[in-house]
Amino acid sequence: MSMTSATPAARYIGQSVTRKEDQRLLTGHGQYVDDITLPGLLHAAFVRSDIARGAITRVDADAARALPGVVAVYTWSDFHGGFGASWHAMLGEELMVPPPLAITDVRHVGDPIAIVVATSRYIAEDACDLIEVDIDAQDAVVEFSTAAEDTDNLVHAGWGLTTNAMMAVPFTPMSPDLDQAFDDAAHVVDCTIRQNRYVCVPMEGRGIVADYSTGRDELDVVCSCQSVHETRNFFSRYLQIPESSVRVSARDVGGGFGQKMFVFREECAVVLASRLLGQPVKWIEDRHENLVAAPHSRNEQGVVRLAIDADQIIQAITIDHVGDVGAYPACPAVMNPQLLPGPYKIPRLGFSMNMVWTNTMGKGAYRGPWMFETTAREMAIDNAARVLDIDPIEFRRRNLLAAADLPFTSPGLQVFSEITPLETLEQALEMLDYDAFRAEQKAARAEGRLLGLGCSVYVEPTSMSGPTLATEGATIRVESSGKVVAFLGTTSHGQSVETTMAQVVADTVGVRYEDVTIVQADTQSTPYGPGTGGSRTAVIAGGAARQAGEVVRDKIVQIAAHHMEADPADLEVSNGVVSVAGTPARSMTVKEVADHAYRFADQLPADLGAGLEATVRFKPTRFPTWSNATHLCVVEIDRDTCVPHVVRYIVSEDCGRMINPSVVEGQIFGGVIQGMGGVLLEDFVYDSSGNPLTTTFMDYLLPTTTEVPEIEIGHIETESTTNPGGYKGMGECGAIGAHAAVANA
């Protein structure tokens, strides 16, 4: 079939339409994993190590097993040999999910040793208290910056390893004249930047209901996850049953931020328990578990060196980096060194990287997992400005890329186009009224007040390629009622996907937003997708939704043209009505078209097949889709209490064409406050023995309404050409930029 009709003008795209998710979520009718109940449902709880490193010498579960209501207590030996491969397609076969339970030794506090399954969560927890575990404690490896040199205490001696270094990339000059640039520099300024350990903390912790039917050899899973399809594929391999025998769904997910991207060892234990018992088993982690034993993040350090010439042009940047991946990383997400020069015209780059194991909770993804490059660079630039006694804003102006400099290939071999670094800086400065601020600051300092301004500029690689991530699928169907359903491979843990994708579908097909429903997060009905994360949904799923919508709209036009005896080229579809352009009286509704497609399909010409449905897979024309932003933060520190107060926070960002400005701004707000929290409040702390000290919300402090500023946002919309809608990802941006902006202030 030929493409016959032009895409209708945007009616919903660009509008802050009411979210489709809100009615159910506001009235308490969302469906999160803990809301699921099933006949015969059992409840699981874990016994975890309270020792960071040591050999398990005894586990006595007799008293627990004797407790009425306890159905089973499993340790490693019960699961050993009972499962297959445990890798994720996105991460590769080498990085396996650790065994569901500790085997002979524990490697971090929180390491699961036993799982109790009982008729209620209360009884399961009672039973955990009755299980006696003896551990022969050994010295733990806690401080990551020196862990690689420690050969006496090894995190993974049990694997026969003789080092704590997971990966070491020796210093790599990306430019042949790097040394010369430092020799020639008027100024060489170096500093050590350390970003503390702070964590995702989704308000809904992790959780799973696993229902293994031994009679059918089928697994049905509902879990709080970011990728139902990858979870399904994982358990298909893990249990060695076909993908079609595994169903994974996740209707509502209470936040993820990267933490829930991959399958957890606890989920493996619950699935194995369900299979051994032939009964559904639910595990809902508590907050203590989420803080102590769900993937951690950040915790990286780097020595950054800048070579600066007499005109204050940065001629080279290098970093010697080390990042903590904990004992069992869910994914070893650390800084992307190729992005270290960021959106600057810096011509030379060099880096070394080290990822080290420690006896702490393993690392996972967190909103911009590679973002230490921004924290390190932006803090190093402010530090250099201080050392050279120059204005950090003017220093950035001299070095930033502007739209006119593009395309630009960085020394990290990143090809930038369609970004606006200098333009966002200027917009943010205008929003602040920079000159007025400096005057106010001068007056404040004269009064002895501590008023500071921090800046952070960055470029974000959204919608990256890499294993599994390059494409998304969409199936769009006009039902016989004329209503439209789009089946997407996405999940949503707060991103408003049901809303934004419905806007795209409504505009593309030419129907009312109210008549579009998005079905997602169910492997039984939706096309494969690797999951929602990496700021990829608008670009890639949006591209798929749009292309599938175009095919469906064309078929609507073809069928209508046949029945109206009109030229397809003269027809337009808008608001659920197909009409002849310029002659609106000649029309038929999409519902009438659907009737012809289904009920009266025998009357269609032979070249027009029955039904109104299309499936496409979309791949952007290139990777990644760049977006960018500038953050400005004004902080006043109380001289008496030393408490910092964020006075103003300004973001100027360019995420291309916005599908829904409220959703865009909501993502920025949330990310900024997470980054701000990481600097001012949040810090996950271990003592020198590897004991976690911040295990409740009374110790691990999250920002609340009384700490947050009003965030001001300016937009520049430079459309991306990687996808037909001109979109760019932006889900991670707030969290990437905020750390350095707040710290610099």
Partner: protein
């Protein structure tokens, strides 16, 4: 072994009864025994406010109360805020101001804000912030939430 206790309460205008262990929390009683899963548990140690419900006109944390403590009281949960499917002004304002994203903390926020505006119909911005400081949201940075409560207060005063 534990002794069970009978509980009789009015929840969202309806009389409900149950038999519970003394240690069963109000939150678990609402969720498991009464099937009202809108009340969410996010910390279970009284900090995050996700489980907030109104007991006899007072906002309380359902994770820190035992079911047996609410015998004879009248309780409003998030499911009881809307009337005949029509959102209350706070819920409506959350919808209009993008006051929620993942929605997990949302029941606690709308219940807390409803209770706040019932006791203080004309709160200052500072009073809104302090009134909601016992609820944690991880998605929104509180921007839409604060706007929503401000706008709900205005709307409720206008319709008085």
């Amino acid at each position: 072994m534990s002794t069970n206790h009978d509980v009789k309460v009015t929840v969202n205008g309806r009389e409900r009864t149950g038999t519970v262990e003394a240690r069963k929390t109000l939150a678990d009683f609402l969720r498991e025994d009464l099937g009202l899963t809108g009340t969410h548990l996010a910390c279970e140690h009284g900090v995050c406010g996700a489980c907030t419900v109104i007991v006899d006109d007072r906002a309380v944390r359902a994770c820190l109360q035992f079911a047996v403590q609410v015998e004879g009281t009248s309780i409003t949960t998030v499911e009881g805020l809307a009337t005949d499917g029509e959102l209350n002004p706070v819920q409506r304002a959350f919808m209009n101001e993008h006051g929620l994203q993942c929605g997990f903390c949302t029941p606690g926020f709308v219940v807390s804000a409803t209770a706040l505006l019932a006791s203080n119909p004309d709160p200052s911005d500072q009073e809104i912030r302090e009134g909601l400081s016992g609820n944690i949201c991880r998605c929104t940075g509180y921007q839409g939430i604060i706007r929503a409560v401000r706008s709900a207060a205005t709307e409720m005063r206008a319709s008085q």
